[in-house]
């Protein structure tokens, strides 16, 4: 009897631990009790700048021990939804606690801006990034893709790696006779928005067909996975696959990235200089700082680039909270930029930093 009772007790204890773990889970462990900080600033959104924001939180957070920052990478679409609701409507991220900022690679549409209400929204570009096409082809290191090839791959038109549109730009490569498996995002994603804007700008047919969006209808043969991490991971384990993701995610997993053709017809590798050239060719910056560069014209510009925005409220209920957020964002706009460059993001042009600072300083 004794042993039976012991087994039952052990089982109950195990169940309880499991339940506790499940409750406190939800993907983003929020160990607030452990930090001892007085103020916790929470934000959620795009996965594209997530490695950078995490690094910033690590560096800046150590300078401000009384404020703790948390960032949950949930994708741009959900980031906007959570910013509009002020918290995770599903109550999962941060246990349903209120969030103080959102993040999105597609900024916010006018329709979404109308829904913000009286708190008002400020969109601050924090950094730029390149969307790279990483692939998994054993034995092939230096793939070069023309604009037509990219469109063909992601529209499902090009089915094998020996397609002449790919072979034309890679005369020296021994391309395997394998089928191409595009890897794309299933969730609502700013990265998807950036690449579909590029394709729509470059190919009118794309605009009519799949269109621009954070979530579109990809060809049936595409593997659809969640988050930048998911795409990188899937490309890593699938031979013959090619997927789009932010530069950092491909670099982290050591995936080779394709050299792409830009609007001027030149072939450009994803490098910091090429990315800056791409973002720098942005036209006039509008007042709300929503700048998109779907197809930069420069000869040395990397073709698929975009800004990523923090979504802040124009007014915060507490002064301390507003000050903490302003301090952090201003730090990110200035001292954080070299860190961004180190990590393969594109630092903001000086003019953009000036405009963004003015916006942030107006927050109450």
């Amino acid at each position: 009897m004794q042993s039976v009772r012991w087994v039952v007790r052990a089982a109950l204890a195990a169940c309880a631990t499991l339940v506790l773990a499940a409750c406190s889970g939800g993907g983003d462990a929020d160990s607030e009790a452990a930090t001892g900080a007085d103020l916790v600033i929470r934000g959620a959104g795009a996965t594209f700048p997530k490695p950078l924001y995490e690094k910033w939180i690590e560096v800046y957070g150590s300078e401000t021990p009384d404020v703790a920052f948390r960032y949950a990478g949930v994708g741009s679409g959900k980031g906007i939804a959570m910013f509009l609701a002020g918290k995770d409507p599903a109550g999962e991220v941060f246990g349903g606690a209120e969030i103080d900022f959102g993040a999105s690679d597609a900024a916010m549409s006018d329709a979404d801006l109308k829904k913000v209400g009286e708190r008002g929204a400020v969109m601050v570009p924090m950094t730029g990034g390149m969307v790279v096409l990483a692939y998994n082809l054993p034995g092939v290191e230096q793939l070069t893709l023309s604009r037509a090839a990219i469109e063909g791959i992601f529209s499902g038109d090009i089915k094998t790696w020996r397609d002449e549109r790919i072979a034309a730009t890679n005369p020296d490569l021994d391309l395997p006779n394998k089928s191409i498996t595009p890897v794309v995002r299933r969730d609502s994603s700013g990265t998807t928005f950036i690449i579909t804007s590029h394709l729509a700008e470059a190919f009118p047919a794309w605009r009519e067909g799949p269109g621009i969006g954070k979530q579109i209808d990809w060809p049936a043969s595409a593997m659809e996975v969640n988050y930048n991490e998911g795409v990188a991971q899937r490309v890593k384990v699938s031979e013959g696959s090619i997927g789009y993701m932010e530069y950092q995610f491909a670099k982290r997993l050591g995936l080779p990235m394709a050299t792409l053709q830009n609007k001027a017809g030149e072939y450009v590798e994803p490098t910091a200089a090429a990315g800056s050239a791409g973002l720098g060719s942005a036209p006039e910056v509008p007042d709300d700082l929503r700048v998109f560069v779907p197809d930069p014209p420069g000869a040395d510009a990397y073709p698929i680039v975009g800004y990523t925005w923090l979504l802040l409220y124009a007014r915060y209920p507490e002064v301390a909270r507003a000050d903490a957020i302003k301090g952090a964002v201003l730090w990110g706009l200035t001292e954080g930029q070299p860190i961004a460059e180190e990590m393969g993001y594109i630092p903001l042009p000086a003019e953009m930093v000036r405009l963004a600072r003015a916006k942030v300083e107006a927050i109450q």
Partner: protein
């Protein structure tokens, strides 16, 4: 010891007596609890169905039967159809049932028909049942990092030499139907094996003795007497295993490739209903949630149909092979 009850009975005034009030009370209480538990299960199923249908109702009204044969899942344009997922669910589960079924029944025969010492058989059985204790995620990871690299060269060779054959018409890039079905087969193996073992054990020993007495060889006895006699139990095992395969989520979400296409090829990526639910739910907006609820309802219905069909076949075999009504 054996005489004691009589002594006791003799010592009391009457041998029989009507049940006391306390006994009546416990009896009716136990009956009540039993009824309540049984009723609760039925209520639970009804509640789940009700909740699912309620949430799915807008999607059912909007997409109707077209949802069953639609092939796009486009959140932006709000076009939803789950035919590729239904196809992937049934295809992967049937493959898994084929593999897991053959191996499971073979294991059951091996363990029960005097091939090895019964103590050794117990060890084997425990090992097979341990497979059921491995978490689904571990199966998924094992599939990605161990199984796929192992079957990739085989798949490549099959594709290169037999590309005209529809089952091998594409090459295996990584996650796809074949690794998913293989892992599923391993996952349902313990269910099939354990219940089949019980089915063989239930056969009275005299049946086998009678078979040997008629002069059968060992294999004749197994294939012509034991297997048919145990068939209803084995079928129950297969139905349970199939049900498990239909609903398996995590390992499949990691291994099947998550592509919304219908392909006969074993190496093409596909998708299943359960993995669609798992991967879309965390990100879904209001309209997509309705569609997902509809998809869940479809999965429930498919499982229900499979179970009913399984039950019908089982009853048929009971009548045919066991001579019971």
């Amino acid at each position: 010891m054996a005489t004691k009850p009589f002594q006791q009975a003799g010592s009391s005034s009457t041998i029989t007596r009507p049940p006391s009030g306390g006994e009546r009370a416990t009896d009716s209480m136990f009956r009540g609890i039993a009824y309540a538990c049984a009723g609760l299960i039925v209520l639970l199923v009804i509640a789940i169905l009700w909740q699912l249908s309620k949430e799915a109702l807008p999607a059912i009204a909007e997409y109707g039967l077209g949802f069953w044969y639609g092939t796009t899942w486009d959140v932006n344009k709000e076009i939803f159809g789950v035919l590729p997922e239904i196809w992937g669910t049934l295809y992967s589960s049937l493959l898994a049932l084929l593999l897991g079924g053959i191996f499971g029944i073979a294991i059951a025969i091996f363990l029960t028909q005097d091939f090895i010492h019964h103590k050794l058989a117990l060890v084997f059985r425990t090992i097979v049942e341990l497979l059921a204790a491995i978490p689904s995620v571990v199966y998924g990871l094992w599939g990605i990092y161990v199984l796929i690299p192992i079957i990739r060269p085989i798949a490549e060779w099959l594709h290169e030499t037999l590309a005209w054959f529809p089952l091998f018409s594409t090459d295996l890039s990584g996650p796809g139907l074949a690794p998913a079905a293989l892992v599923l087969a391993i996952m349902i193996l313990p269910t099939v094996a354990a219940i089949s073992v019980d089915a063989f054990r239930r056969i009275p020993y005299k049946v086998k003795e009678a078979a040997y007495g008629m002069g059968t060889t060992k294999w004749e006895a197994i294939l012509k007497v034991m297997l048919p006699t145990a068939s209803s139990g084995i079928l129950a095992a297969l139905v349970l295993g199939f049900g498990r395969a239909l609903g398996e989520t995590m390992a499949l979400a990691m291994l099947i490739g998550n592509a919304n296409q219908i392909s006969l090829s074993l190496f093409a990526p596909a998708n299943t209903l359960a993995s669609l639910l798992a991967s879309s739910f965390p990100e879904a907006g209001a309209v997509e949630v309705q569609a997902l609820m509809y998809a869940a309802l479809v999965l429930l219905l498919i499982t229900f149909i499979v179970n009913v069909l399984g039950l019908a076949v089982q009853q048929y075999t009971v009548r045919k092979f066991e001579g019971k009504k």
